[in-house]
């Protein structure tokens, strides 16, 4: 089975390995033109968007997590779950509604507001991981800081925040990946970033080498970010030196402070969830969007649904094989390949899409003729590469709960892998399998950049249709698809909410 797992891993990392084969960092006329004209904009805009989005995501994510874990706030348990709801709304959808609502009030199409929208839609990543960190922190450390003469604010930044750095970094890392991956918001707010550049190089110039070069630079960006964070944490320990940890007791707040904290907590929830969903419902009910619940919508629904189902199923099957192989066999090469294949979520969808095109062009070259490969197959392949990690990590974490002696027992059993899995593994992995499937399913429904690049001409999905219609300012027509995406986004949140409850974070 370890051979099968290694082959699966190789297939998943093949696109990234093939990427440099198409003239990465080599001279190319289109790329040279891009370098001379817009590359500096791509770099500065991407960096600026990244920094500002991280700022907003940190402000809302850390702020709300700290408030809800540290203060006695009314309806705290409910708010803890509500704060995750903006996750259901993809950034591009919030962006379309935001611009449409405020474009005549103030100048909306700039990096500041683009980052604001991105920050609001991505802050739940930071919120969820920080909430876990804040909830299990050792309050003695903060009290020690206060008795050493440090103010509460100083203590917050130097002890509380630094103490949850691994949690914060994990959440912020995902925000960075999603920002680099974004196409819809940047495009709608007219900001030239690497992702929009890759898309333009491919569809505007039809230049694969130029797209590959831009993808490689973006990949370097991503890799540097991952490296910098792990380097920053080198040798440092964030774990407590004591087992007698005193957990926090929520502080009482005055009525004025309670109101101010409530306003802070409710702001991202209102903008990130209530605003888009009520906007969408208004488009459907008041502006006649209900007329577009027609056969075209059903066809979009079928396309998206079938694509999401196939990708989720493949991701889950591969994750099960690789996950079990990882826990059963200690082979270093196999484990290394498996870990490498799970990096896909860190790689922007646009890069994966371009890399897939490179793979199939190389196959064509090797065959000496153009092989007819269905666009849908390429799309499935790229989405599996991108979202495999989501399913894999869920399956792996469920395996952590399998008692060690049971693992040894399973190893000693004879019988096929399928039989052993069915009898012994699946009872442990059942919940994780469902979660993996649903999260990948919804991620595929919302995905835009890779789907945009690889969708065949006659094949539209909900997300691509929303993008196309919103670009033409036909928001009413796109409302049924938007509503469907918004509502489907609530399902994994429900599952996550249950998980949070299980570890005691959802409830007081």
């Amino acid at each position: 089975m370890k051979i099968i797992a290694s082959v699966i891993s190789l297939i998943l990392i093949l696109p990234l390995m093939a990427l440099p084969s198409r003239g990465a960092f080599s001279y190319n006329e289109t790329f040279s033109h891009i370098v001379n004209t817009v590359l500096s904009h791509y770099v500065s805009n991407t960096l600026m968007l990244l920094v500002l989005t991280c700022f907003w995501a940190s402000l809302w994510g850390v702020g709300t997590a700290y408030i809800l874990s540290s203060f006695k706030i009314a309806k705290r348990s409910l708010l803890k779950v509500a704060m995750m709801l903006p996750f259901a709304c993809p950034g591009y959808l919030l962006g379309y509604y935001f611009v449409d609502t405020f474009q005549f009030t103030f100048s909306t199409r700039n990096i500041f507001w683009a980052s604001f929208v991105m920050g609001i839609s991505l802050y739940p990543y930071v919120y969820m991981s920080c909430l876990a960190g804040f909830s299990v922190r050792n309050i003695d450390l903060e009290e020690a800081s206060l008795t050493l003469g440090r103010s509460p604010l100083y203590t917050f930044f130097h002890i509380t925040l630094k103490g949850i750095r691994p949690y914060y970094a994990a959440g912020l890392g995902l925000v960075c990946m999603e920002t680099l991956n974004d196409y819809g918001v940047a495009d709608h707010f007219a900001i030239d970033t690497f992702t929009t550049g890759i898309y333009r190089a491919w569809f505007g110039f039809y230049s694969l080498p130029a797209s590959v070069n831009l993808s490689m630079i973006l990949l370097l960006f991503t890799a540097s970010g991952l490296f910098l964070e792990s380097w920053g944490r080198r040798n440092k320990s964030f774990y407590n030196t004591t087992s007698k940890m005193k957990l926090l007791k929520e502080k009482e707040v005055s009525l004025t402070n309670h109101s101010l904290l409530m306003i802070f907590v409710l702001t991202p929830f209102l903008i990130g969830f209530i605003f888009p969903i009520s906007y969408c419902i208004k488009q459907i009910t008041v502006h006649g969007g209900y007329e577009y619940f027609n056969s075209e919508f059903l066809s979009l629904l079928f396309n998206s649904f079938s694509m999401a189902f196939i990708v989720s199923f493949i991701c889950l099957a591969l994750a099960l094989v690789n996950g079990f192989s990882h826990s059963l066999f200690k082979n270093k090469i196999s484990r290394f390949l498996i870990r490498l294949s799970a990096l896909g979520y860190a790689i922007p969808g646009s890069i994966i899409a371009i890399a897939i095109i490179v793979v199939f062009q190389n196959v064509d070259d090797l065959a000496g003729k153009s092989l007819v490969v269905g666009g849908k197959l390429l799309l499935v392949y790229s989405l599996v590469c991108r979202f495999f990690a989501v399913a894999y990590e869920n399956i792996r974490s469920s395996q952590e709960h399998i008692p060690r002696n049971l693992m040894s027992y399973i190893n000693l059993q004879t019988g096929s892998f399928f039989k052993k899995s069915k009898d012994l593994y699946f009872p442990y992995a059942k919940a994780a399998m469902l979660t993996s499937f649903v999260i990948v399913f919804v991620d595929v429904l919302k995905e835009l950049p890779a789907t945009m690049i690889l969708s065949p001409l006659n094949f539209q999905t909900l997300s691509v249709s929303i993008y196309t219609l919103a670009s033409d300012e036909r928001l009413v027509e796109s409302a049924p698809s938007a509503l469907f995406i918004l509502l489907s986004g609530l399902v994994p949140l429900f599952l996550l909410g249950k998980k949070l409850d299980k570890v005691g974070l959802g409830e007081n």
Binding site: N138, D140, L141, E143, A144, S145, L146, T147, L148, G149, R150, S151, P152, T155, H158, I159, K162, G163, R165, N235, K236, S237, F238, Y239, N240, T241, T242, K244, M245, K246
Partner: protein
């Protein structure tokens, strides 16, 4: 007027009276040991003095300055009262040197301070790399580096073996005397043979 004065202090927790009209005084340079059974409010007394809990009523004064009364509550970081916690509460993401400097950023010679407790060679170690006794010494030096007027010791020797406990207890009081700092120690393992004079209160 005494150095530390607690007058008619009352404190209840979960509707249970922990202190009722409790009064206590301490002179400058004196050391007080508070002992008693579990749940009698020993640690709570320290937390109230540090400002980490507020009493329901009463008055607390340190060097003539009111820290708590009906109209005045001084925040913990402004009380000039240091505390050594039972679990030492060393900051895990900082080295030993950084832990000591955190208490006093203008401290030029963190190494000198750590020499006093024989840890000058562990400047760049992290708390997790130290033994329990070493962590306790760092916690003490860190508290003293902040130059407090009063040091509160919340059972800091309870998890150490008896020999090490006696050695570190002695070292602690020698340092407190060197800097002429008063202290209140909470313990349930009172060492009656201790060579340094201390007042004892049983709750």
């Amino acid at each position: 007027m005494s150095f530390l004065e607690i007058l008619d202090m009352s404190f209840s927790y979960n509707k249970k009276n922990i202190f009722s009209n409790f009064s206590l005084s301490l002179e400058k340079g004196d050391h007080l040991v508070v002992t008693g059974a579990s749940g009698r409010g020993k640690s709570t007394l320290l937390r109230i003095l540090a400002g980490l809990e507020n009493p329901d009523q009463g008055q607390i004064k340190l060097s003539g300055r009111t820290l708590f009364d009906d109209s005045n509550v001084v925040a913990p970081h402004e009380r000039e009262i240091g505390m050594v916690f039972q679990d030492y509460a060393l900051f895990p993401h900082m080295t030993i040197k950084e832990n000591v400097e955190y208490a006093n950023p203008r401290l030029i010679q963190a190494q000198e301070w750590l020499r006093k407790v024989k840890l000058e060679n562990r400047l760049n170690s992290y708390p997790r790399e130290l033994s329990g006794g070493e962590q306790q010494r760092v916690a003490l030096v860190r508290t003293l580096a902040a130059k407090p007027r009063l040091v509160l010791l919340d059972e800091p020797f309870s998890s150490l073996d008896p020999e090490l406990r006696e050695e570190l207890e002695l070292l602690t009081y020698e340092l407190l005397n060197e800097f002429n700092i008063s202290s209140i120690q909470v313990t349930h393992q009172l060492n009656k043979e201790f060579s340094i004079p201390r007042k004892i209160v049983a709750l």
